[in-house]
Amino acid sequence: MRRFFLIAPPYAWLLLLFLAPFAIVVKISLSDYALAIPPYVPKFSWDEGIGAYLSQLDFENYIFLTEDDLYWKAYLSSFKIAAISTTLTLLVGYPIAYGMTRVPSEWRPTLMMLVILPFWTSFLIRVYAWMGILSSEGYLNQLLLWIGVIDTPLIILNTNAAVYIGIVYTYLPFMILPIYSALERLDESLIEAAEDLGCSRLKAFWLVTIPLSKTGIVAGCFLVFIPALGEFVIPSLLGGSNTLMIGKVLWEEFFSNRDWPVASAVAVVLLLLLVIPIVLFQRNQQKQQEAEQ
């Protein structure tokens, strides 16, 4: 009985404020757009019963998503942007995580702190910091012009390149931390053994270090890829008008076009697409936990 009072409040809270809202999204994604407040026609009523409701269900909002180029292009381009930025984050993050395990151990907590600190700082501010750097009269262009590498300012802000930089910058701690913790557990003597057996340093790194840090690499990639896919702030501040990302499309569909049924359908499809990487991520985490035990 006592346990019931402990379980009930968080359970009820999550049912009401997490699960129920989803049911509503799914329901609205199946209703029709209308010029009204709220801007959709509810198709379900208790008087007619569930049978009548189900018999008149159509998936026209979903069909609309497949017919209009904008949506599937936005999904594809979100996948592409998320995949490219995840790869870049890995390439930037791995050497940092690796370097952190090579310094004297009394420095490590400080370096760790330096990696975590930006994570606590406002996301908006970290994205904003790049607007000043990347704009055509920004600091980067000033520097490059001054050195004489370029004659005319590069256009980086409001392109996909700026979005990649923004994602790499803001999600870097998520990549570094899991890789660092995988590398830190790595048994040094395995690498020495490989070297004793005639491997070059590079070959030992490739054949021993990388495979043994695989769980960290996979975890880091998912931690970057999953949130990057639905990202809204970075494409709207750093991206241009032709940067298509599904988070931005959903936002505009809802706030500018006020088409709630289509916005809801966009959300449902995005969620279904995310289920795959999320399940893979959890399997990776489980494997890692089992390996530790």
């Binding site: 006592r2 346990r3 402990l6 379980i7 968080p10 809270w13 999550l14 049912l15 404020l17 997490f18 129920a20 809202p21 989803f22 509503i24 999204v25 930037v92 050497p95 940092i96 690796y98 370097g99 090579r102 310094v103 004297p104 370096l111 702190m113 330096l114 600190l117 930006p118 700082t121 406002s122 996301f123 908006l124 501010i125 904003y128 910091a129 790049w130 607007m131 000043g132 750097i133 704009s135 009269e137 600091y139 910058y169 999953i226 949130p227 896919l229 639905g230 809204f232 702030v233 501040l237 988070g247 959903l250 936002w251 809802f254 709630w260 916005a263 959300a267 995005l270 999320i278 991520f281």
Partner: protein, 271 residues
């Protein structure tokens, strides 16, 4: 010790430069005299002065702090309960659904969480404002709190709780006198995490707020869309300073507590 090769030194230097130079530039140019953010025209603190007179920003900051305090407190209570149930509760009906609902918000895109909560609030006819943002923030932060607290609950020695029960404590007393003091650092860092997440959130707040409540991130975001401005630099600098001091203090306190706790645990085992 020849572990730190030149390659590692270079990658660490470049890596941390990449992480910190944008922030440092932002801070430096908040002290710029000129309205043009990208051209240096001499030292000045006038943008900070102007910020102090900007009523819209001050009001938004007040709303944000209110939301953060309430939502993180709710999140900490519910999140700690959820963590306790998950780690110590044993089996109960609907446990799988419960754990799913706790982990799902961590990976959910913010646009979806925001959209779904807004549709709920409209559906039940709740006026949008501070209350709805608090409910929304409380929901996703409680999941973060429960992850932080349960990671501490998993590692601590259960026999301490059992000893208290054997010595005549009621379960509630055992929780208050033994469990709570041990998990306290995790509960506090959970609260801090929830607080920062709430301070930081733009997307969910934009969906769930109404005309009566504008939070600081919403205000900052609409200003940022117009381009770079020295006032935002000044505001960002203040926020960075607060967070930096906060994080460093919190980590020092946590470290001290950990040392003390280890010592107490050792003493308890010895005697």
């Amino acid at each position: 010790m020849n572990k730190t090769s030149w390659f590692n030194v270079v990658s660490l230097t470049l890596g941390f430069a990449f992480l910190y130079i944008p922030m440092i530039i932002l801070i430096i140019f908040s002290f710029n005299e000129s309205k043009l953010v990208t051209v240096w025209a001499g030292f000045s603190t006038k943008w900070y002065g102007e910020l102090m007179h900007n009523k819209a920003f001050l009001d938004a900051a007040w709303v944000t702090i209110k939301v953060a305090v309430f939502s993180s407190t709710i999140a900490t209570v519910l999140g700690t309960m959820a963590a306790y149930v998950m780690v110590r509760g044993g089996r109960f009906r609907g446990r799988t659904l419960f754990s799913g609902m706790i982990y799902a918000p961590l990976v959910m895109p913010e646009v979806i969480t925001g959209l779904s909560l807004l549709l709920l609030f409209i559906g039940i006819g709740l006026d949008r404002g501070v209350l709805t943002i608090v409910l929304a923030h409380g929901t996703f932060s409680m999941c973060y709190v429960s992850v932080v607290v349960s990671s501490r609950l998993v590692t601590f020695d259960r026999s301490l709780e059992e000893a208290a029960l054997d010595l005549g404590c009621s379960p509630a007393e055992a929780f208050r006198l033994v469990t709570l003091p041990i998990i306290a650092p995790a509960v506090i860092s959970g609260w801090l995490l929830a607080f920062t997440l709430s301070l930081d959130d733009l997307v969910i707040a934009s969906f769930t707020t109404g005309p009566s409540a504008t939070t600081l991130p919403i205000k900052i975001f609409s200003a940022m869309r117009l381009g770079v401005s020295p006032e935002i630099n000044a505001l960002s600098t203040i926020m960075i300073a607060i967070i930096t001091v906060g994080v460093i203090t919190a980590s020092l306190v946590a470290k001290q507590q950990l040392v003390r706790q280890r010592r107490e645990e050792q003493d308890a085992v010895r005697s």
